[in-house]
Symmetry: C2
Subunit: 137 residues, 2 copies
Amino acid sequence: MKKTSILNKLRSSGLRPTKQRVEIAKFLFNRDKTFHFTVESLGKHLAKKTTTKFALATIYNTLHAFKKAGHLNEVHLRGKNNTTYFDTNISNHHHFYDSETSELIDINDNEITFDKLPKAPNGKTIKNLEVIINLKN
Amino acid sequence: MKKTSILNKLRSSGLRPTKQRVEIAKFLFNRDKTFHFTVESLGKHLAKKTTTKFALATIYNTLHAFKKAGHLNEVHLRGKNNTTYFDTNISNHHHFYDSETSELIDINDNEITFDKLPKAPNGKTIKNLEVIINLKN
DNA sequence: GACATACTTTAGAACTATTATAAACTAGGA
DNA sequence: TCCTAGTTTATAATAGTTCTAAAGTATGTC
Ligand SMILES: [Mn+2]
Ligand SMILES: [Mn+2]
Ligand SMILES: [Zn+2]
Ligand SMILES: [Zn+2]
């Protein structure tokens, strides 16, 4: 994904392509494989890879803006370090979770299929379904 | 479950049956259906139902002790309110989660069966598998 | 029952992830 | 260039949880 495409992605989401947003978007979206990260780990990566300054609040703001625009997912998992995980894979999918390394690994949606599933409680509908497979060594 | 049984449960876990632990254990374990709760909600219930005082730290200490003893589970879900859920159902099972009410509902292990499952990444083993079915209204 | 001691509770401080604030800065249109 | 709404920033505030160390208690021994 080249620079112009990043700019388009931001602009078409109603987000002004500021220096910080462009750097974060380049870092997150110019890659082949899924990237799972925390705010802290992203901050460190950005400090290493760029000369731009990122206030912590800007990282949070940007990630939430990207999430709201549908460019990022937040993983609803509570790891041992009590931080939110973000996920560049925005398709429906599942995860392996290694609690020793706090690492997430994608499982494609079609790698898990069900024989039997319960129906939603009365008056409610199923929005989506997430499987977390906890790993040990 | 009567008083003596509660005392046994505590003692056989190496936990002295203090006033606070006995009250919490009675409140949590003398019931038929699964109880999902947060530290905050438990604190409120205890204040309403008993005359015993519970320092916040004691509630945390006690829940962690019960968890360590295998009498409670912690649900590794990050809800919108960033609090831990505890679960009196200590069997392997799954959950519906209603993010609007922050409510968990049990799904028995045998209500979900799989056609297809991925194998664990190299060098790792599957510890367990949790399904969370997100609900909407 | 009194005593000793390890375990437990407690109030409050500390910690940590995240969000709010409000002042300075900037992208983009006129 | 100028204006303005949108954005970044440093810092304070918030909230869930854990830590501290002093006071209290359960339990074994005499
Ligand atoms: Mn740098
Ligand atoms: Mn009371
Ligand atoms: Zn993922
Ligand atoms: Zn449950």
